[in-house]
């Protein structure tokens, strides 16, 4: 183990009849990266993973793994191993036989196969259950066996299709940590499909946000969160407010724009006048108070207040802006508490207003 492969996806498409599941995406996943494909259901992330694995034919484009183009290779010849969503353990085989399945297919003799499978189970701390059937295991245990079965082929890249979705919330967090630890110790490339942004943020070195068969943004989690490329990314990652409007003018590297309700805002950047514009503002960067400069705040009516312990979440509605979320620290809130229905001024700094791009422009 230890050899990791770079995965290079070159304008790959997947077309089912009339629907385009994956629309000419290109992506480079460096060797040894923990990459999360993130997006809502039906965004093409699973199709992408299955194309890398070889369980789905590629309609057009190429996939390179390390130095070889694997586009037309069968799954087992690619040097990838896949872990399926429901783990897909063979119900009629015990754990040793499950883990040693690929060795059996290769014709490795029984003694050697069982020894290797047992060693792999031991690595996953499942050796005590070696003679059990999958149905006798809990979800977390099944996942470990599925991992053992995938890793025994000594893959260059491990592909995981929503590996944590079948687990309860508590186990999810524990297995998440185990996955990360495993990836670090093996050093191979992991590609992990998920629809949970929290999971992706916790695990990934590279988050690939997908929507409608296209990649919206592929970057380090911090970049994705702090500089979301598009309004979709900002919305999907959560904890962002989005204000949409039309550019009215720009000066000194600042753009002014107006929302349909008549309020006007400013942000750093210089798009052309008249163009539509979206900006994102992190909910925890908004404060209660007067704007330091025009266009960096507005006054609104508090629609809802949620106390969350260390912070308080306010939902504010302004002219042309509905459901603007503000998260303030409990200290800041209880110094000057407001009630539902009260009017409050909101403000933020110029650098916290991020202009969001549009995919088609």
């Amino acid at each position: 183990m230890g050899k990791a492969a770079e995965i290079d996806i070159v304008s790959v498409s997947k077309i089912y009849g009339a629907t385009i599941a994956v629309d000419t995406i290109s992506l480079k996943i460096p060797a040894g990266t923990y990459c999360c494909l993130l997006g809502p259901s039906g965004c093409g992330k699973t199709s992408t993973l299955r194309m890398i694995a070889g369980h789905e034919t590629i309609s057009s484009g190429d996939i390179r793994l390390g130095s070889k183009v694997v586009t037309d290779f069968p799954p087992a010849k690619r040097g990838t191993a896949m872990m399926f969503q429901s783990y897909a353990l063979f119900p009629h085989l015990d754990l040793i036989e499950n883990v040693g399945f690929s060795l059996k297919m290769k014709g490795v003799d029984k003694e050697e196969r069982r020894a290797k499978a047992f060693a792999m189970l031991k690595l996953m701390q499942m050796d005590a259950y070696a003679t059990r059937r999958p149905a006798q295991l809990s979800g977390g245990q099944q996942q470990r066996v599925a991992l053992a079965r995938a890793l025994i082929t000594d893959p260059e890249a491990l592909l995981l299709d929503e590996p944590l979705s079948a687990l309860d919330p508590f186990l999810k967090i524990r297995m998440r940590a185990e996955l990360k630890k495993l990836q670090t110790s093996l050093g191979i490339t992991f590609v992990h499909v998920t629809h949970s942004q929290e999971e992706a943020m916790a695990l990934a070195d590279l988050i690939v946000v997908m929507n409608d068969g296209k990649i919206e943004q592929a970057a380090h989690p911090r970049v994705v969160f702090e500089r979301p490329a598009t309004a979709f990314v900002a919305r999907f990652m959560g904890d962002h407010n989005i204000i949409s409007g039309r550019v009215t003018g720009s000066s000194l590297g600042r753009v002014m724009f107006e929302v349909p309700g008549g309020l006007s805002f400013s942000a750093p950047g210089s798009p052309e006048v008249g163009a539509p514009i979206d900006i994102g503002i992190r909910t925890d960067r908004v404060r209660i108070g007067e704007a330091p400069a025009p266009g960096l705040g507005f006054s609104g009516i508090v629609g809802n207040i949620e106390y969350r312990g260390s912070s308080v979440k306010l939902s504010v509605t302004g002219a042309g802006i509905d459901d603007f979320t503000v998260i303030v620290s409990d200290q800041a809130f209880f110094e000057k508490p407001v009630a539902v229905g009260g009017a409050i001024p909101l403000a933020w700094d110029i650098d916290d207003a991020v202009i969001l791009g549009r995919l088609d422009s």
């Binding site: 369980h55 969503q85 063979f90 297919m105």
Partner: protein, 315 residues
């Protein structure tokens, strides 16, 4: 871990038990328990009555009659064992049983092979669920006519001057009609395979449809070839269906008499046929003894099948 959890639950229950032991709610709970137990007996009654009346009672009657005496006119209530000693002591019985077992083995093997492939084709090669349903119904269409009619329809096809023979002669492939086609053991096996293959297709199709498709992908991911997927994943998982189909086919063929009589033209014997002959000679006790022996043999075969394959998860 499981046992620990169970122990914990058990401990909790005993705690609850001692608590309710003091509380006046105990008798109430016990009464509720008794009522619910009664309710489940009542729910089981209709099926028990039907099975008792239409399955258990006739079998007991047959068992009883098998010990009775008879002459050529009537039967006499008695307790004699010569029905059994006569049946088991006769060379004809053994030959007939062997013949029936031979038919059973051949028909079982053929229906299993054909049935598995039909089911496999339906389950894995037909993509749309509608098409699967339509083709499955097509398989059952022959069942809209009676056994006898389906058997008779082979006659003009296989006969001396039937379709096959006349075609073969006209094409110059054979100089004179093939005699083995009709009224032969070949014809018996052919008709039985035709009649009973669906009993294999249905349960096997059912198990194949329940195989998680991702298991096949997982096998492919592990480098299995198409044939390896079949032998390592699909066939082992289809075993319960194959076992259920085998039970159907074995019991049907073992008890068959009309196909054997009709398609062999009376040249081949089966246990069922032997019994039918005894009945037509009014030797009811002898036929009953034969039936009991047949029942035991069939049950032994079924038990053997169940020993090999665990079908519980299918039921």
């Amino acid at each position: 871990m499981k046992t620990k959890a169970m122990a914990a639950i058990a401990a909790e229950e005993t705690v609850l038990g001692t608590e309710t032991g003091i509380a006046p709610g105990k008798t109430k709970r016990r009464r509720a328990h008794r009522v619910s137990a009664l309710a489940s007996y009542i729910q089981a009654t209709p099926l028990a009555v039907i099975l008792g009346l239409f399955l258990l009672l006739p079998i007991l009657t047959i068992g009883m009659v098998s010990f009775w005496d008879y002459d050529s006119v009537r039967i006499y209530p008695d307790f004699v064992t010569f029905n059994y000693t006569e049946t088991l002591g006769s060379w004809v019985t053994w030959k007939t049983y062997l013949n029936t077992l031979k038919f059973t083995a051949i028909v079982w093997f053929l229906t299993m092979v054909i049935g598995f492939w039909v089911a496999y084709f339906l389950a894995f090669h037909i993509r749309s669920a509608t098409m699967q349903m339509i083709l499955f119904l097509v398989c059952t269409v022959p069942f809209l006519t009676s056994n006898i009619i389906r058997m008779i329809s082979w006659v003009p096809f296989l006969g001396r001057n039937g379709l096959i023979n006349s075609s073969l002669i006209e094409l110059g492939i054979v100089p004179k009609p093939l005699e083995f086609l009709l009224f032969s053991e070949f014809a018996v096996v052919l008709a039985m395979v035709h009649l009973y293959t669906l009993f294999m297709v249905t349960p096997i199709f059912n198990t194949l449809m329940r195989i998680d498709r991702s298991l096949i992908e997982a096998a492919r991911d592990a480098g299995a070839s198409g044939f390896q997927v079949l032998t390592n994943v699909i066939i082992p998982l289809a075993k319960p269906g194959i076992a259920i189909g085998s039970i159907f086919v074995v019991t049907l063929v073992m008890g068959d008499f009309i196909t054997a009589r009709f398609m062999s033209g009376g040249q081949s014997a089966s246990v069922g046929l032997m019994m039918a002959n005894q009945i037509s000679l009014l030797q009811y006790p002898a036929a009953a003894a034969n039936a009991v022996i047949l029942l035991i043999v069939v049950l032994l075969i079924v038990a053997a099948i169940l020993r090999v394959v665990d079908i519980r998860k299918e039921l």
